[in-house]
Assembly symmetry: C2
Homo-oligomer: 105 residues x 2
DNA sequence: CCCATAATTCGAAATATGTCGAATATTGAA
DNA sequence: TTCAATATTCGACATATTTCGAATTATGGG
């Protein structure tokens, strides 16, 4: 487990394996309005604090989880004034979705 | 982390978060021939031993990982004589694939 | 019935993860 | 500049995971 290849996909799934992180990701998942062309520019954004709303975890834990999602390449982050905005790149979703469709019809 | 809800999806992703398990799952993923209607009956099957081929892990570890994949609902298992066959239900793949497509076009 | 093959269970050890609180940064506003 | 709001880093601790080898179970063949 220490010197074997760790594919990016495994890292992504690890990030999503924690219920708290899965919830956070889920809140960013409906990133564009239904029926619209979903590009990075129109993706819904939440700041860190709002994302953790209702989840009863410490701010430090929330920060840690978002960082994990970011390191796994699932969530983008950018400071905007006092806040830090988070969003999901639609391209990333496509990649993950297609992993489970190895034989398209 | 002890008393919070643990959604089935989180369990699935946790199962796929380990590189060895991801490899095992991957070997079962191309479960049907390209272009054919992919149903459970025609899904490719491997026995436990063959699945672990090339992965340098102990039989007990291999068994453990398959059990995890099975418990997470990702891999089906059934004894067939001396062997135990493993396969992936196409329905499961559809569910996982759609999770990453919350806003279909 | 006895043996070989295939797979699982169990217990132990090393490592990784989730979580918190305290301390620290970063920014905008008064 | 000083303060409040937002977010991150750090160190610590409890719990979970990964892995192995030894022992055990399950099955079919001779």
């Amino acid at each position: 487990m220490s010197n074997i290849e760790k594919p990016p996909l495994a890292a992504a799934f690890k990030a999503l394996s924690n219920p708290h992180r899965l919830t956070l990701f889920n809140r960013l998942l409906n990133c564009c309005e239904p029926g619209t062309r979903c590009d990075a520019a129109s993706a819904t954004r939440f700041c860190v604090g709002d994302l953790g709303e209702g989840l009863e975890i410490a701010p430090s834990t929330l920060s840690h989880h978002l960082k994990e999602l970011n390191r796994a390449g699932l969530v983008e982050m950018a400071r905007k004034g006092k806040r830090v905005e988070c969003w999901v790149e639609p391209e990333k979703l496509k990649t993950l979705s297609q992993f489970f469709q190895p034989n398209p019809p």
